[in-house]
Symmetry: C2
Subunit: 159 residues, 2 copies
């Protein structure tokens, strides 16, 4: 389940098994990043093309997504440990709270990224801006809240 060893000063908690809500994977993300060391620290809008593959029957939910230049993508960091409350990103004994970090190790290891849409090929979105491991399970795709079309809708100017 996890490949994360504790570092000096890091703090874990013993919490009940997580079962307040349940997720379904709706596809998978294909990136050039095969290992965690190969993943960039943050997604780069000029980074390599990646593929978001949406599984049936959820591919029908992609209709209209081409209208947006930027999308928000949520995914499941399935290899991350979930019990850390203080982490030491630089492994130097200094720690910060998990909610003050964008580390993949969190009580609910949900990753979020803003990607630029290069093109849609059927049930596949080709995008730039991801930093996750190849094979990462997909949870959701939404129009980016800053997209002009989203703003027009929110202000009732959408026609």
């Amino acid at each position: 389940m996890t490949d994360d060893d504790l570092r000096p000063g890091e703090t874990t908690v013993a919490a009940a098994a997580p079962d307040d809500a349940r997720l379904r994977f709706v596809g998978q993300i294909r990136t050039p990043f095969a290992t965690r060391d190969a993943c960039p620290r943050q997604g780069d809008p000029d980074g390599p093309e990646c593929r978001i593959e949406v599984d049936a029957p959820w591919d029908a939910a992609l209709d209209g997504v081409e209208a947006f230049a930027r999308l928000e993508v949520l995914y499941w960091l399935d290899r991350a440990r979930r019990d850390l409350v203080r982490q030491s990103p630089r492994a130097d004994g200094t720690t910060r709270g998990t909610f003050a970090l964008r580390s993949p190790m969190r009580p609910n290891p949900i990753g979020s990224a803003i990607v630029t849409l290069v093109r849609r090929d059927g049930a596949v979105l080709v995008v730039r801006g991801l930093d996750c491991l190849d094979g990462t399970p997909l949870l959701d795709i939404k129009p980016h809240r800053g997209d002009p079309a989203v703003r027009r809708r929110a202000e009732g100017r959408d026609t």
Copy 2:
């Protein structure tokens, strides 16, 4: 579980029960919005103060969060139906795919918002910019990816 009736043209799918991964709620969000009709269509950075209440033992994960002016908040839209692939936001017979909308009704009803941090009171963050119902379960808090301190860390300039 749901209070959403189908509208003309909307399409649902029959999918297996979601059980690919499990979530734990780490707190709750208190807003002035008691009903869905009272919720704004999008969070306003100048909107009313809301409270993000973090439950023990996860409150220890807040340490250092005061360094960020803006935070990304993830929460669970626990009243939303999850089987819609095409939706009709204006109930006029025209529909769009769920992934082309920021509707709460999605296969994994995870809401995301960017909030401005007003202050921290112990295990409570007072913030602006939320649009969710009072009592919404909290999933995660992360520094906003655009925050200057996050950029410094990503570029290795963090000291």
